[in-house]
Protein backbone atom coordinates (compact mmCIF):
# COMPACT_ATOMS: atom_id res chain seq x y z
CA UNK A 1 0.00 0.00 0.00
CA UNK A 2 2.94 2.42 0.22
CA UNK A 3 2.80 2.50 -3.59
CA UNK A 4 -0.83 3.50 -3.34
CA UNK A 5 0.27 6.06 -0.74
CA UNK A 6 2.86 7.45 -3.10
CA UNK A 7 0.33 7.59 -5.90
CA UNK A 8 -2.21 9.36 -3.72
CA UNK A 9 0.23 11.94 -2.47
CA UNK A 10 1.56 12.57 -5.96
CA UNK A 11 -1.99 12.81 -7.26
CA UNK A 12 -2.80 15.36 -4.59
CA UNK A 13 0.18 17.56 -5.43
CA UNK A 14 -0.47 17.10 -9.14
CA UNK A 15 -4.02 18.35 -8.72
CA UNK A 16 -2.83 21.40 -6.83
CA UNK A 17 -0.39 22.04 -9.64
CA UNK A 18 -3.16 21.54 -12.17
CA UNK A 19 -5.24 24.19 -10.49
CA UNK A 20 -2.90 26.74 -12.01
CA UNK A 21 -4.25 25.90 -15.45
CA UNK A 22 -7.66 26.88 -14.18
CA UNK A 23 -6.86 30.56 -14.30
CA UNK A 24 -8.47 30.89 -17.73
CA UNK A 25 -11.73 32.77 -16.99
CA UNK A 26 -13.45 31.59 -20.17
CA UNK A 27 -13.42 28.04 -18.79
CA UNK A 28 -16.70 27.80 -16.94
CA UNK A 29 -17.16 24.20 -15.84
CA UNK A 30 -14.41 22.20 -14.12
CA UNK A 31 -12.91 25.51 -13.09
CA UNK A 32 -10.01 24.94 -10.75
CA UNK A 33 -8.63 28.26 -9.70
CA UNK A 34 -9.39 31.75 -8.51
CA UNK A 35 -10.09 34.25 -11.29
CA UNK A 36 -7.79 37.16 -11.90
CA UNK A 37 -10.65 39.62 -12.12
CA UNK A 38 -10.76 43.06 -13.72
CA UNK A 39 -9.36 45.41 -11.09
CA UNK A 40 -5.90 46.23 -9.85
CA UNK A 41 -6.81 44.88 -6.42
CA UNK A 42 -8.25 41.63 -7.75
CA UNK A 43 -5.06 41.03 -9.72
CA UNK A 44 -2.85 41.76 -6.72
CA UNK A 45 -4.97 39.40 -4.64
CA UNK A 46 -4.70 36.80 -7.37
CA UNK A 47 -0.94 37.25 -7.32
CA UNK A 48 -0.79 36.78 -3.54
CA UNK A 49 -3.01 33.72 -3.87
CA UNK A 50 -0.69 32.13 -6.43
CA UNK A 51 2.36 33.03 -4.35
CA UNK A 52 1.08 31.46 -1.14
CA UNK A 53 -0.25 28.51 -3.11
CA UNK A 54 3.17 27.87 -4.64
CA UNK A 55 4.85 28.28 -1.26
CA UNK A 56 2.52 25.66 0.15
CA UNK A 57 2.99 23.36 -2.82
CA UNK A 58 6.76 23.65 -2.48
CA UNK A 59 6.71 22.89 1.23
CA UNK A 60 4.22 20.10 0.63
CA UNK A 61 6.45 18.52 -1.99
CA UNK A 62 9.43 18.75 0.36
CA UNK A 63 7.67 17.42 3.45
CA UNK A 64 5.62 14.78 1.64
CA UNK A 65 8.59 13.38 -0.23
CA UNK A 66 10.47 12.88 3.03
CA UNK A 67 7.42 11.14 4.47
CA UNK A 68 6.97 8.99 1.39
CA UNK A 69 10.66 8.16 1.31
CA UNK A 70 10.56 7.05 4.94
CA UNK A 71 7.42 5.01 4.33
CA UNK A 72 8.98 3.35 1.31
CA UNK A 73 12.44 2.77 2.75
CA UNK A 74 12.37 2.26 6.51
CA UNK A 75 10.02 -0.71 6.53
CA UNK A 76 10.32 -3.71 8.80
CA UNK A 77 9.49 -5.94 5.84
CA UNK A 78 12.71 -4.70 4.25
CA UNK A 79 14.58 -5.62 7.42
CA UNK A 80 15.03 -2.04 8.56
CA UNK A 81 16.32 -1.85 12.13
CA UNK A 82 15.13 1.17 14.15
CA UNK A 83 17.72 3.81 15.01
CA UNK A 84 17.77 5.04 18.60
CA UNK A 85 18.09 8.84 18.24
CA UNK A 86 15.10 10.79 19.52
CA UNK A 87 16.05 14.43 19.02
CA UNK A 88 18.44 16.76 17.22
CA UNK A 89 18.59 20.33 18.38
CA UNK A 90 20.11 21.42 15.11
CA UNK A 91 17.32 20.02 13.00
CA UNK A 92 14.63 21.31 15.35
CA UNK A 93 15.99 24.84 15.32
CA UNK A 94 16.26 24.77 11.53
CA UNK A 95 12.70 23.73 10.94
CA UNK A 96 11.49 26.35 13.37
CA UNK A 97 13.49 29.16 11.77
CA UNK A 98 12.81 28.37 8.11
CA UNK A 99 9.02 28.57 8.40
CA UNK A 100 9.35 31.84 10.31
CA UNK A 101 11.43 33.26 7.47
CA UNK A 102 8.96 32.04 4.83
CA UNK A 103 6.06 33.54 6.74
CA UNK A 104 7.73 36.91 7.18
CA UNK A 105 8.46 36.94 3.45
CA UNK A 106 4.76 36.21 2.84
CA UNK A 107 3.54 38.81 5.31
CA UNK A 108 5.24 41.77 3.65
CA UNK A 109 3.44 41.80 0.27
CA UNK A 110 0.23 40.76 1.99
CA UNK A 111 0.41 43.73 4.35
CA UNK A 112 1.11 46.07 1.45
CA UNK A 113 -1.97 44.94 -0.47
CA UNK A 114 -4.10 45.09 2.66
CA UNK A 115 -3.21 48.74 3.16
CA UNK A 116 -4.14 49.52 -0.45
CA UNK A 117 -7.48 47.72 -0.11
CA UNK A 118 -8.44 49.75 2.93
CA UNK A 119 -7.77 53.12 1.24
CA UNK A 120 -11.01 54.26 -0.39
CA UNK A 121 -9.94 57.89 -0.69
CA UNK A 122 -10.33 59.86 -3.93
CA UNK A 123 -13.36 57.95 -5.16
CA UNK A 124 -15.26 59.35 -8.14
CA UNK A 125 -18.64 57.73 -7.53
CA UNK A 126 -20.32 56.59 -4.34
CA UNK A 127 -22.99 53.91 -4.24
CA UNK A 128 -24.74 52.86 -1.08
CA UNK A 129 -25.66 49.18 -1.10
CA UNK A 130 -28.26 47.90 1.36
CA UNK A 131 -28.93 44.21 1.84
CA UNK A 132 -32.50 43.06 2.47
CA UNK A 133 -33.94 39.58 2.91
CA UNK A 134 -33.51 38.80 -0.01
CA UNK A 135 -32.57 41.54 -2.39
CA UNK A 136 -30.16 44.41 -2.77
CA UNK A 137 -30.90 48.10 -2.85
CA UNK A 138 -28.56 50.36 -4.83
CA UNK A 139 -28.53 54.04 -3.93
CA UNK A 140 -26.50 56.52 -6.01
CA UNK A 141 -26.20 58.96 -3.14
CA UNK A 142 -24.90 61.87 -5.24
CA UNK A 143 -27.61 61.43 -7.89
CA UNK A 144 -30.66 60.73 -5.75
CA UNK A 145 -31.27 57.55 -7.69
CA UNK A 146 -32.16 54.38 -5.82
CA UNK A 147 -33.72 51.05 -6.76
CA UNK A 148 -33.96 47.40 -5.73
CA UNK A 149 -32.18 44.55 -7.46
CA UNK A 150 -33.82 41.14 -7.24
CA UNK A 151 -33.24 37.67 -8.67
CA UNK A 152 -34.93 37.74 -12.09
CA UNK A 153 -38.31 36.06 -12.07
CA UNK A 154 -37.44 33.42 -14.67
CA UNK A 155 -34.67 32.11 -12.46
CA UNK A 156 -36.89 32.36 -9.43
CA UNK A 157 -39.47 30.10 -11.05
CA UNK A 158 -36.81 27.71 -12.29
CA UNK A 159 -35.33 27.26 -8.83
CA UNK A 160 -38.54 26.11 -7.15
CA UNK A 161 -38.60 22.44 -6.17
CA UNK A 162 -40.19 20.45 -9.02
CA UNK A 163 -40.49 23.55 -11.22
CA UNK A 164 -40.03 21.19 -14.13
CA UNK A 165 -37.47 23.56 -15.62
CA UNK A 166 -34.06 22.15 -16.55
CA UNK A 167 -31.89 24.76 -14.94
CA UNK A 168 -29.02 23.85 -17.25
CA UNK A 169 -31.02 25.56 -20.01
CA UNK A 170 -31.26 28.77 -17.94
CA UNK A 171 -28.11 30.75 -18.66
CA UNK A 172 -26.33 32.38 -15.71
CA UNK A 173 -28.70 30.36 -13.54
CA UNK A 174 -29.24 32.19 -10.22
CA UNK A 175 -26.81 34.91 -11.27
CA UNK A 176 -29.21 37.28 -13.03
CA UNK A 177 -31.22 40.19 -11.63
CA UNK A 178 -33.95 42.54 -12.79
CA UNK A 179 -32.00 45.78 -12.21
CA UNK A 180 -28.22 45.45 -12.16
CA UNK A 181 -25.92 48.02 -10.60
CA UNK A 182 -24.47 50.23 -13.36
CA UNK A 183 -21.07 51.89 -12.97
CA UNK A 184 -18.66 53.69 -15.31
CA UNK A 185 -15.51 51.90 -16.42
CA UNK A 186 -12.11 53.08 -15.13
CA UNK A 187 -13.56 55.15 -12.30
CA UNK A 188 -12.84 54.59 -8.62
CA UNK A 189 -16.20 53.52 -7.24
CA UNK A 190 -16.72 53.62 -3.49
CA UNK A 191 -19.31 51.15 -2.23
CA UNK A 192 -20.92 51.74 1.16
CA UNK A 193 -22.45 48.46 2.34
CA UNK A 194 -25.07 48.12 5.02
CA UNK A 195 -28.16 46.04 5.67
CA UNK A 196 -31.76 46.50 6.70
CA UNK A 197 -32.48 43.27 8.56
CA UNK A 198 -29.73 40.68 9.00
CA UNK A 199 -26.10 40.52 7.94
CA UNK A 200 -25.52 40.06 4.21
CA UNK A 201 -22.30 40.24 2.25
CA UNK A 202 -21.78 42.06 -1.05
CA UNK A 203 -19.37 40.17 -3.27
CA UNK A 204 -18.25 40.43 -6.88
CA UNK A 205 -15.39 37.94 -7.38
CA UNK A 206 -14.04 39.82 -10.40
CA UNK A 207 -13.55 42.92 -8.26
CA UNK A 208 -11.61 40.87 -5.70
CA UNK A 209 -13.44 41.98 -2.57
CA UNK A 210 -16.33 41.10 -0.36
CA UNK A 211 -17.62 43.05 2.62
CA UNK A 212 -20.23 42.26 5.22
CA UNK A 213 -23.40 44.35 5.09
CA UNK A 214 -24.17 44.87 8.76
CA UNK A 215 -27.47 46.38 9.92
CA UNK A 216 -26.89 49.73 11.59
CA UNK A 217 -23.29 50.05 10.41
CA UNK A 218 -21.63 51.12 7.17
CA UNK A 219 -18.69 49.28 5.67
CA UNK A 220 -16.62 50.61 2.80
CA UNK A 221 -15.03 48.96 -0.19
CA UNK A 222 -13.81 50.31 -3.49
CA UNK A 223 -13.03 49.07 -6.99
CA UNK A 224 -11.99 50.48 -10.34
CA UNK A 225 -13.26 48.16 -13.07
CA UNK A 226 -10.92 48.23 -16.05
CA UNK A 227 -13.07 46.32 -18.56
CA UNK A 228 -16.58 47.04 -19.79
CA UNK A 229 -18.86 44.08 -19.16
CA UNK A 230 -21.28 42.38 -16.83
CA UNK A 231 -19.91 40.94 -13.60
CA UNK A 232 -21.78 38.52 -11.38
CA UNK A 233 -21.48 37.64 -7.73
CA UNK A 234 -23.61 36.51 -4.82
CA UNK A 235 -24.55 37.31 -1.27
CA UNK A 236 -21.76 35.75 0.79
CA UNK A 237 -23.16 35.72 4.30
CA UNK A 238 -25.92 33.38 5.43
CA UNK A 239 -28.99 35.59 5.65
CA UNK A 240 -31.84 33.13 5.94
CA UNK A 241 -34.04 31.05 3.71
CA UNK A 242 -33.16 32.63 0.35
CA UNK A 243 -29.52 33.47 1.03
CA UNK A 244 -28.64 31.49 -2.08
CA UNK A 245 -30.95 33.55 -4.23
CA UNK A 246 -29.85 37.17 -3.97
CA UNK A 247 -27.19 37.58 -6.64
CA UNK A 248 -25.12 40.69 -7.28
CA UNK A 249 -24.88 41.86 -10.89
CA UNK A 250 -22.80 44.86 -11.93
CA UNK A 251 -22.79 46.31 -15.45
CA UNK A 252 -19.63 48.25 -16.18
CA UNK A 253 -20.22 50.72 -19.05
CA UNK A 254 -18.51 53.66 -20.73
CA UNK A 255 -18.80 56.97 -18.84
CA UNK A 256 -21.03 58.46 -21.55
CA UNK A 257 -23.40 55.50 -21.41
CA UNK A 258 -23.47 55.80 -17.66
CA UNK A 259 -24.34 59.50 -17.79
CA UNK A 260 -27.29 58.93 -20.12
CA UNK A 261 -28.44 56.00 -18.02
CA UNK A 262 -28.33 57.91 -14.74
CA UNK A 263 -30.05 60.90 -16.36
CA UNK A 264 -32.81 58.60 -17.55
CA UNK A 265 -33.20 57.22 -14.08
CA UNK A 266 -33.47 60.73 -12.62
CA UNK A 267 -36.06 61.72 -15.20
CA UNK A 268 -38.11 58.65 -14.46
CA UNK A 269 -37.91 59.62 -10.81
CA UNK A 270 -39.25 63.14 -11.50
CA UNK A 271 -42.05 61.71 -13.55
CA UNK A 272 -43.06 59.26 -10.91
CA UNK A 273 -46.00 60.30 -8.77
CA UNK A 274 -45.37 61.61 -5.24
CA UNK A 275 -41.62 61.56 -5.81
CA UNK A 276 -40.61 62.64 -2.34
CA UNK A 277 -42.49 59.88 -0.59
CA UNK A 278 -41.24 57.37 -3.13
CA UNK A 279 -37.63 58.45 -2.79
CA UNK A 280 -37.90 58.28 0.99
CA UNK A 281 -39.44 54.86 0.80
CA UNK A 282 -36.82 53.39 -1.51
CA UNK A 283 -33.80 55.23 -0.21
CA UNK A 284 -34.51 54.52 3.42
CA UNK A 285 -31.77 52.09 4.46
CA UNK A 286 -33.72 50.94 7.47
CA UNK A 287 -37.32 51.83 6.98
CA UNK A 288 -38.05 52.11 10.71
CA UNK A 289 -35.22 54.45 11.55
CA UNK A 290 -35.97 58.14 11.32
CA UNK A 291 -32.47 59.64 11.11
CA UNK A 292 -31.88 57.62 7.97
CA UNK A 293 -35.06 58.95 6.45
CA UNK A 294 -33.91 62.45 7.15
CA UNK A 295 -30.66 61.81 5.29
CA UNK A 296 -32.62 60.42 2.38
CA UNK A 297 -34.86 63.46 2.24
CA UNK A 298 -31.83 65.70 2.44
CA UNK A 299 -30.52 64.32 -0.82
Amino acid sequence: MPKKMVRRALAATAVIGLSLLGSNPAMAAWTLNLREGVTELSREIYGLHMLILWVCVAIAVAVFSVMIYSIATFRKSKGAVPATFDHSTGAEVTWTIIPVVILVAMAIPAARTLVKIEDASGSELTVKVTGYQWKWQYDYVDHGVAFFSTLSSRHNEARQVDSGVDVRQVDDYLLDVDNPLVVPVGKKVRVLVTAADVIHNWWVPDFGLKKDAIPGYINELWFRAEKVGTYRGQCAELCGRDHGFMPVVVRVVEQAQFDTWIAGQQAARQAAAAPAAQAAATVAPIAIETPALRVAAAE
Binding site: K128, L192, T194, G216, Y217, I218, P291, R294, V295
Partner: protein, 294 residues
Protein backbone atom coordinates in the same frame (compact mmCIF):
# COMPACT_ATOMS: atom_id res chain seq x y z
CA UNK B 1 -10.04 -0.66 43.07
CA UNK B 2 -9.75 1.55 46.10
CA UNK B 3 -12.66 -0.34 47.52
CA UNK B 4 -15.02 1.63 49.70
CA UNK B 5 -15.03 -0.76 52.64
CA UNK B 6 -11.25 -0.99 52.64
CA UNK B 7 -10.64 2.67 52.06
CA UNK B 8 -12.48 3.55 55.19
CA UNK B 9 -9.63 1.92 57.06
CA UNK B 10 -6.78 2.34 54.61
CA UNK B 11 -6.03 6.05 54.41
CA UNK B 12 -3.28 5.38 51.86
CA UNK B 13 -5.81 4.60 49.15
CA UNK B 14 -7.59 7.12 46.93
CA UNK B 15 -11.32 6.75 47.55
CA UNK B 16 -13.25 5.76 44.44
CA UNK B 17 -16.99 5.95 45.12
CA UNK B 18 -19.18 3.12 43.92
CA UNK B 19 -22.14 3.61 41.65
CA UNK B 20 -24.25 6.64 42.39
CA UNK B 21 -27.70 7.61 41.20
CA UNK B 22 -27.11 11.34 41.59
CA UNK B 23 -25.50 12.03 38.21
CA UNK B 24 -28.39 10.51 36.28
CA UNK B 25 -30.94 12.13 38.60
CA UNK B 26 -29.10 15.39 38.02
CA UNK B 27 -29.08 15.25 34.25
CA UNK B 28 -32.73 14.13 34.03
CA UNK B 29 -33.81 16.97 36.30
CA UNK B 30 -31.67 19.54 34.49
CA UNK B 31 -33.12 18.32 31.21
CA UNK B 32 -36.63 18.76 32.58
CA UNK B 33 -35.85 22.17 34.02
CA UNK B 34 -34.29 23.48 30.80
CA UNK B 35 -37.11 22.02 28.73
CA UNK B 36 -39.52 23.83 31.05
CA UNK B 37 -37.56 27.06 30.77
CA UNK B 38 -37.63 26.86 26.97
CA UNK B 39 -41.35 26.12 27.04
CA UNK B 40 -41.85 29.11 29.34
CA UNK B 41 -40.09 31.39 26.89
CA UNK B 42 -42.19 29.97 24.09
CA UNK B 43 -45.33 30.63 26.11
CA UNK B 44 -46.47 27.01 26.47
CA UNK B 45 -49.15 26.95 29.16
CA UNK B 46 -48.05 23.86 31.10
CA UNK B 47 -44.46 25.12 31.08
CA UNK B 48 -44.36 26.35 34.69
CA UNK B 49 -45.10 22.83 35.98
CA UNK B 50 -42.30 21.33 33.92
CA UNK B 51 -39.87 24.04 34.93
CA UNK B 52 -40.57 24.04 38.66
CA UNK B 53 -40.77 20.27 38.70
CA UNK B 54 -37.32 20.12 37.18
CA UNK B 55 -36.10 22.81 39.52
CA UNK B 56 -37.21 20.93 42.62
CA UNK B 57 -35.61 17.76 41.25
CA UNK B 58 -32.36 19.67 40.81
CA UNK B 59 -32.52 20.85 44.44
CA UNK B 60 -33.16 17.26 45.52
CA UNK B 61 -30.13 16.16 43.53
CA UNK B 62 -27.81 18.72 45.13
CA UNK B 63 -29.16 17.89 48.56
CA UNK B 64 -28.66 14.18 48.08
CA UNK B 65 -25.35 14.42 46.25
CA UNK B 66 -23.70 16.74 48.74
CA UNK B 67 -25.29 14.73 51.52
CA UNK B 68 -23.53 11.65 50.20
CA UNK B 69 -20.21 13.44 49.90
CA UNK B 70 -20.47 14.92 53.38
CA UNK B 71 -21.35 11.53 54.75
CA UNK B 72 -18.37 9.87 53.12
CA UNK B 73 -16.18 12.68 54.35
CA UNK B 74 -17.45 12.39 57.95
CA UNK B 75 -16.81 8.67 57.65
CA UNK B 76 -13.16 9.47 56.98
CA UNK B 77 -13.14 7.88 53.55
CA UNK B 78 -11.27 10.82 52.03
CA UNK B 79 -7.50 10.91 52.22
CA UNK B 80 -5.14 13.75 51.34
CA UNK B 81 -5.38 12.91 47.66
CA UNK B 82 -9.15 13.24 47.55
CA UNK B 83 -8.91 16.49 49.46
CA UNK B 84 -6.41 17.78 46.90
CA UNK B 85 -8.71 16.79 44.03
CA UNK B 86 -11.56 18.72 45.58
CA UNK B 87 -9.36 21.77 46.00
CA UNK B 88 -8.12 21.71 42.43
CA UNK B 89 -11.63 21.07 41.17
CA UNK B 90 -13.01 24.05 43.06
CA UNK B 91 -10.16 26.27 41.85
CA UNK B 92 -10.76 25.46 38.20
CA UNK B 93 -14.50 25.78 38.63
CA UNK B 94 -13.99 29.29 39.95
CA UNK B 95 -11.67 30.01 37.02
CA UNK B 96 -14.41 28.99 34.60
CA UNK B 97 -16.75 31.39 36.41
CA UNK B 98 -14.20 34.15 35.95
CA UNK B 99 -14.19 33.47 32.21
CA UNK B 100 -17.99 33.59 32.15
CA UNK B 101 -17.96 37.06 33.67
CA UNK B 102 -15.12 37.88 31.29
CA UNK B 103 -17.51 37.54 28.37
CA UNK B 104 -19.81 40.20 29.82
CA UNK B 105 -16.99 42.53 30.83
CA UNK B 106 -15.69 42.09 27.29
CA UNK B 107 -19.07 43.14 25.92
CA UNK B 108 -19.03 46.20 28.18
CA UNK B 109 -15.57 47.12 27.00
CA UNK B 110 -16.51 46.67 23.34
CA UNK B 111 -19.64 48.78 23.67
CA UNK B 112 -17.87 51.62 25.45
CA UNK B 113 -14.62 51.65 23.50
CA UNK B 114 -15.74 50.60 20.02
CA UNK B 115 -19.37 50.27 19.02
CA UNK B 116 -20.75 53.41 20.69
CA UNK B 117 -17.95 55.69 19.41
CA UNK B 118 -18.34 54.17 15.93
CA UNK B 119 -22.06 54.85 15.91
CA UNK B 120 -21.14 58.35 16.97
CA UNK B 121 -18.94 58.70 13.92
CA UNK B 122 -15.54 58.33 15.53
CA UNK B 123 -12.60 56.45 14.08
CA UNK B 124 -12.79 54.38 10.93
CA UNK B 125 -16.58 54.22 10.96
CA UNK B 126 -17.53 57.89 10.54
CA UNK B 127 -19.70 57.04 7.53
CA UNK B 128 -21.92 54.95 9.78
CA UNK B 129 -22.90 58.06 11.65
CA UNK B 130 -23.09 60.25 8.55
CA UNK B 131 -25.50 58.00 6.70
CA UNK B 132 -27.43 56.15 9.37
CA UNK B 133 -27.33 57.98 12.69
CA UNK B 134 -26.74 61.65 11.87
CA UNK B 135 -28.29 62.94 15.07
CA UNK B 136 -26.48 60.64 17.43
CA UNK B 137 -23.67 61.94 19.57
CA UNK B 138 -22.15 59.20 21.66
CA UNK B 139 -21.68 59.48 25.39
CA UNK B 140 -21.61 56.82 28.06
CA UNK B 141 -24.13 55.91 29.49
CA UNK B 142 -26.22 55.51 26.35
CA UNK B 143 -29.23 53.61 25.11
CA UNK B 144 -28.04 53.93 21.56
CA UNK B 145 -28.83 56.09 18.54
CA UNK B 146 -32.45 54.93 18.51
CA UNK B 147 -32.75 55.84 22.22
CA UNK B 148 -34.06 52.34 22.91
CA UNK B 149 -36.25 52.19 26.01
CA UNK B 150 -36.46 55.98 26.34
CA UNK B 151 -34.54 58.42 28.50
CA UNK B 152 -33.16 57.01 31.76
CA UNK B 153 -30.98 57.97 34.67
CA UNK B 154 -28.17 55.89 36.13
CA UNK B 155 -27.37 54.91 39.68
CA UNK B 156 -24.60 57.06 41.16
CA UNK B 157 -21.61 55.00 42.28
CA UNK B 158 -21.32 56.72 45.63
CA UNK B 159 -24.76 55.92 46.95
CA UNK B 160 -26.02 52.40 47.49
CA UNK B 161 -23.28 50.81 45.38
CA UNK B 162 -20.58 52.25 47.64
CA UNK B 163 -22.43 50.93 50.69
CA UNK B 164 -22.75 47.54 49.02
CA UNK B 165 -19.02 47.58 48.32
CA UNK B 166 -18.36 48.22 51.99
CA UNK B 167 -20.73 45.39 52.91
CA UNK B 168 -19.07 42.84 50.63
CA UNK B 169 -15.56 43.85 51.65
CA UNK B 170 -16.55 43.53 55.31
CA UNK B 171 -17.99 40.09 54.63
CA UNK B 172 -14.62 39.22 53.12
CA UNK B 173 -13.01 40.16 56.40
CA UNK B 174 -15.54 38.36 58.58
CA UNK B 175 -15.12 35.09 56.69
CA UNK B 176 -11.36 35.35 57.06
CA UNK B 177 -11.76 35.85 60.81
CA UNK B 178 -14.06 32.85 60.86
CA UNK B 179 -11.46 30.82 59.00
CA UNK B 180 -8.71 31.73 61.46
CA UNK B 181 -11.04 30.90 64.32
CA UNK B 182 -11.71 27.51 62.75
CA UNK B 183 -8.00 26.83 62.42
CA UNK B 184 -7.48 27.96 66.02
CA UNK B 185 -10.31 25.66 67.11
CA UNK B 186 -12.32 28.60 68.45
CA UNK B 187 -15.81 27.42 67.46
CA UNK B 188 -17.81 30.27 69.04
CA UNK B 189 -15.99 32.98 67.09
CA UNK B 190 -16.27 30.75 64.05
CA UNK B 191 -20.04 30.42 64.42
CA UNK B 192 -20.59 34.13 65.00
CA UNK B 193 -18.44 35.41 62.15
CA UNK B 194 -19.63 32.82 59.68
CA UNK B 195 -23.19 33.83 60.47
CA UNK B 196 -22.19 37.49 60.12
CA UNK B 197 -20.76 36.71 56.70
CA UNK B 198 -23.89 35.26 55.21
CA UNK B 199 -26.07 37.85 56.89
CA UNK B 200 -23.98 40.53 55.17
CA UNK B 201 -24.35 38.54 51.97
CA UNK B 202 -28.12 38.52 52.19
CA UNK B 203 -28.13 42.18 53.17
CA UNK B 204 -26.16 42.90 49.99
CA UNK B 205 -28.67 41.00 47.87
CA UNK B 206 -31.53 42.82 49.59
CA UNK B 207 -30.03 46.23 48.86
CA UNK B 208 -29.30 45.15 45.29
CA UNK B 209 -32.99 44.27 44.89
CA UNK B 210 -33.89 47.64 46.38
CA UNK B 211 -31.61 49.28 43.82
CA UNK B 212 -33.28 47.40 40.95
CA UNK B 213 -36.72 48.54 42.14
CA UNK B 214 -35.47 52.10 42.20
CA UNK B 215 -33.93 51.74 38.72
CA UNK B 216 -37.08 50.28 37.20
CA UNK B 217 -39.61 52.53 38.88
CA UNK B 218 -37.93 55.89 39.33
CA UNK B 219 -35.05 55.98 36.85
CA UNK B 220 -36.61 54.13 33.90
CA UNK B 221 -33.35 52.18 33.78
CA UNK B 222 -34.25 48.68 32.55
CA UNK B 223 -32.78 45.68 30.76
CA UNK B 224 -34.19 47.35 27.66
CA UNK B 225 -32.32 50.62 28.14
CA UNK B 226 -30.02 50.04 25.22
CA UNK B 227 -26.55 48.63 25.63
CA UNK B 228 -26.10 50.41 28.95
CA UNK B 229 -29.12 48.73 30.49
CA UNK B 230 -28.10 45.42 28.93
CA UNK B 231 -24.58 45.39 30.32
CA UNK B 232 -25.61 46.95 33.64
CA UNK B 233 -28.31 44.44 34.48
CA UNK B 234 -26.60 41.37 33.03
CA UNK B 235 -23.37 42.03 34.92
CA UNK B 236 -24.89 43.05 38.22
CA UNK B 237 -27.64 40.46 37.83
CA UNK B 238 -25.32 37.50 37.33
CA UNK B 239 -23.17 38.80 40.16
CA UNK B 240 -26.18 39.06 42.44
CA UNK B 241 -27.12 35.50 41.52
CA UNK B 242 -23.64 34.34 42.47
CA UNK B 243 -23.77 36.19 45.78
CA UNK B 244 -27.08 34.51 46.54
CA UNK B 245 -25.66 31.07 45.78
CA UNK B 246 -22.54 31.86 47.78
CA UNK B 247 -24.62 32.98 50.74
CA UNK B 248 -26.70 29.81 50.61
CA UNK B 249 -23.51 27.75 50.56
CA UNK B 250 -22.32 29.72 53.60
CA UNK B 251 -25.55 28.86 55.39
CA UNK B 252 -25.00 25.16 54.70
CA UNK B 253 -21.44 25.41 55.97
CA UNK B 254 -22.68 27.24 59.05
CA UNK B 255 -25.27 24.55 59.76
CA UNK B 256 -22.51 21.96 59.43
CA UNK B 257 -20.39 23.93 61.88
CA UNK B 258 -23.32 23.92 64.28
CA UNK B 259 -23.44 20.14 63.75
CA UNK B 260 -19.81 20.00 64.82
CA UNK B 261 -18.36 19.25 61.40
CA UNK B 262 -14.83 20.33 60.34
CA UNK B 263 -11.56 20.08 62.22
CA UNK B 264 -8.80 22.70 62.38
CA UNK B 265 -6.90 20.49 59.89
CA UNK B 266 -9.69 19.24 57.61
CA UNK B 267 -12.30 21.68 56.39
CA UNK B 268 -12.12 21.76 52.60
CA UNK B 269 -15.81 22.56 52.19
CA UNK B 270 -15.34 25.64 54.32
CA UNK B 271 -12.34 26.78 52.32
CA UNK B 272 -13.99 26.07 49.00
CA UNK B 273 -16.93 28.25 49.91
CA UNK B 274 -14.57 30.90 51.27
CA UNK B 275 -12.70 31.01 47.96
CA UNK B 276 -16.00 31.31 46.15
CA UNK B 277 -16.97 34.16 48.43
CA UNK B 278 -13.75 36.01 47.74
CA UNK B 279 -14.35 35.48 44.04
CA UNK B 280 -17.77 37.17 44.09
CA UNK B 281 -16.13 39.88 46.16
CA UNK B 282 -13.47 40.56 43.54
CA UNK B 283 -16.00 40.47 40.70
CA UNK B 284 -17.96 43.11 42.56
CA UNK B 285 -14.93 45.38 42.76
CA UNK B 286 -14.67 45.11 38.98
CA UNK B 287 -18.36 45.95 38.70
CA UNK B 288 -18.14 48.87 41.06
CA UNK B 289 -15.25 50.40 39.15
CA UNK B 290 -16.28 49.73 35.54
CA UNK B 291 -20.06 49.65 35.73
CA UNK B 292 -20.95 52.18 38.42
CA UNK B 293 -17.97 54.44 38.81
CA UNK B 294 -16.05 55.10 35.58
Amino acid sequence: MAHAAHTAHDAGKYYIPHGSKWPIVGSVSLFTMMLGAAALLNGVNIAPYIFWGGFLAVLYMFYGWFGTVIGENQAGLYNEGVDKSFRMGMMWFIFSEVMFFGAFFGALYYARQLSVPWLGGEGSKFLTNMFLWKEYDPAWPTNGPAAVGGAFETIPAFGLPAINTAILLTSGVTITIAHHALKAGNRTVLKIFLALTFLLGFLFVGLQAEEYMHAYHELNLTLGSGVYGSTFFMLTGFHGLHVTLGAIMLVVIWLRVMKGHFTPQHHFAFEGVAWYWHFVDVVWLGLFIFVYWL
